[in-house]
Symmetry: C2
Subunit: 422 residues, 2 copies
């Protein structure tokens, strides 16, 4: 039996009862002969409460101090979890990100992991301890200041530790049973996925699936660490994310799932002269303001005018900043106008082998058409098709696509497309 | 203008408003040209809430993890305070006990400071920052584990940092105006003391005064760091504790104040054979159980029986343990019985020059007698007389003594005893 890294999110350790339940599960893994490293998030709403407090003392909390503040949350949960484990008769020690050797850059509030040097964790394990590590935090390489890893940081901590410790598996415990073929709140017939490749999981994550974040999956893929996403409330098998392709037959498309995302807005730059360098100027203006964009679509220009429209999607929170940045470049670029639309939804179909299989794209569009959903933008990748629709049509659209591709839980099996071309 | 260390307790930073008020006061000190180091406790009831959480997951919280848990409290308050200061336009950085170089032994929950190496604090100050340091915590020298200093630990942190940084003064901010001649809740006419020596303050602290703890005053005396105890709610001068004797005339007794303590119980070992080694056996049994005792009184034995009684006081919380320990030695020692009494109070009169001045002891006993208060035990030191009385007589007794020694705020001046002898 090898080393297992388990990660528990805030909802799993929301109160003393939750902590005791999690402690029991950890001890079970230890009893099964594993060395166990546990990464834990802050309890329930702790982080939100701390953010609220910060807002009360300062409208613009400083990065360094904000990180110092937020990291108190994991300190509380990890110490309590270690106590609860010791109370069950097993040895446990808790470690801050710094003590666990999580070395980051100095970008406060969204630091990136540079290195993991888990010497103290290794020693604690060798001495028979269960090691509890604070998720979401590290220490900066140059200044030795406390840093936080930003959104989804605890999952990344877990995968990074699993890689550094050469773990058998990184188990991500959450309040759902695993990764589903669609959001079960939208599609009641959504099915739990048993196995999914890193690549498909990456596409689902970047298309709106919230179970695992892109960053954590990317890290796991790079170091080839299998992730097992499962519920902390049941003993059921969840979803394995790995570089295995499951039982997919070569050259056949397997649809992994349907993701949707209503957190984005769409900006259309209308009437852009269709000549070299115009698009570059537009996206340089966006990039200079550190705005991350998602889909970008440009259609052929109308021959009569020599003008084209460029549309892109971006997080709603960045909308105002992007519009301001573009307005300033209006005279340079010479576009006609800007349109801003935050009533959109993105629906994505993800699956391996899609590009080399016919009918997937057609089937996707037909399903939307049959449901009366209009498509506003289309974007594709090797293993994903995404469309933008009206926000109020998103649920209907997701259900229609989910059903059309045989993903519903009452279907006999997923639709498999054979052959070539799309 | 030199370096000032300011310490703010939990009641001063109980909420966002308190933190902002404290931030303003800190910035004022900085504007006055001082280098400022601030030691801060956890907000309001945070520590109690964390202790309560620990109790919910484990009946006997482990030392190491308990310290990890509790230190989250200062992490929150110090980060918020730094943010609030930055919001006022001044630079501030917060530091954990470990980052501030507070090196301790490995006794979790009540570690002792071994060394202070404030290199990062010095650098932060030199760069123009206000340095905010977490009180109550350090890092163990051997294992590099987080430790806490126990009760009153933040005051000790402040004095230790003041000593290591060679500060002009260590300001202890609290919710009262300073040290009083008696507890103002018991004696409404109690007066604020302007200046008091380290020695008198030590005696007051060990006699029940709660404003400063013995340990912190002892540290300040050893390194000769003046302490200024003052209110965080007003700009008034508080009480200066230093090695100066104030305006006391040599060879005259100045009464500093009357302290009382109702946290102790009394144990009497009845009928102890009056021969060498009996007392040693009794107190070795107590010491082996790590019980701290306070007053010890043995009277001459009755000639007829050759038996004597030995009484001592100790914290009520240790009473059960002490009785158990003594019962086990009953056959060895051969005493008759044990009496346990937790309805006692200790009243102490503290003042320099007492021993060499007549009438102080007599005046003390007369005041108690006039108030109808019976004395059960008496114990004296160089600068203190303590008596044990019934608990329900304590308020009356304190007021009577306070008044008899001219300490009441409507008295013209404190009574001064001249001459020699007592």
């Amino acid at each position: 039996m090898g080393l297992v890294v388990q990660k528990y999110g805030g909802s799993s350790v929301a109160d003393a009862e939750g902590i005791k339940r999690v402690a029991k599960r950890i001890v079970d893994a230890k009893k099964n002969g594993h060395q166990v490293v546990v990464v834990v998030s802050a309890m329930g709403d702790t982080t939100d409460e701390l953010i609220d407090l910060a807002g009360q003392v300062s409208p613009i909390p400083a990065g360094r101090e904000f990180d110092m503040l937020l990291t108190a949350g994991e300190r509380i949960s990890m110490a309590l979890l270690a106590m609860a484990i010791k109370n069950l008769g097993h040895e446990a020690q808790s470690f801050t990100g710094s003590q666990a050797g999580v070395i980051t850059d100095s970008v406060h509030n969204k630091a990136r992991i540079i290195d993991v040097t888990p010497g103290r964790i290794r020693t604690a394990l060798d001495e028979g301890n269960i090691a509890i590590v604070a998720g979401f935090q590290g220490v900066s390489q140059d200044k030795k200041d406390i840093t936080t890893l930003g959104r989804g940081g605890s999952d990344t901590t877990a995968v990074a530790l699993a890689a550094a410790l050469d773990a058998e598996v990184c188990e991500i415990y959450t309040d759902v049973d695993g990764v589903f073929t669609a959001d079960p709140r939208v599609v009641p017939k959504a099915r739990k996925i048993d196995r999914i490749s890193f690549e498909d999981m990456l596409e689902l994550a970047s298309s709106g699936s919230k179970v695992l974040l892109h960053r954590c999956v990317e890290y796991a893929r790079r170091y080839n660490i299998p992730i097992h996403v499962r519920s902390s409330f049941s003993g059921l098998q969840g979803t394995w994310v790995s570089n295995e392709q499951g039982d997919r037959k070569v050259e056949q498309a397997i649809i992994s799932g349907v993701a949707h995302d209503t957190s984005e807005a769409k900006i259309t730059v209308v009437g852009v002269p269709d000549k070299p360098g115009e698009a570059a100027t537009i996206f340089r203006a966006i990039a200079n303001n550190e705005i991350n964009i998602d889909m970008v679509v440009q259609n052929v220009s109308a021959a009569s005018t020599g003008l084209t429209d460029i549309s892109f999607t971006l997080p709603k929170a960045e909308g105002r900043k992007a519009i301001d940045a573009l307005e300033k470049t209006k005279s340079t670029i010479g576009f006609e106008s800007l349109r801003y639309d935050d009533q959109i939804a993105k629906i994505s179909l993800v699956g391996a082998g899609m590009k080399t299989n016919p009918g997937v794209t057609a089937g996707f569009f037909e399903a939307l058409s049959d449901a009366g959903v209009n498509i506003e933008l289309i974007s594709t990748s090797e293993i994903r098709i995404s469309v933008v629709t009206r926000a109020d049509e998103v649920k209907e659209a997701v259900r229609a696509v989910h059903s059309a591709f045989g993903l519903d839980s009452d279907s006999d099996e997923a639709v498999v497309y054979g052959g070539t071309g799309r």
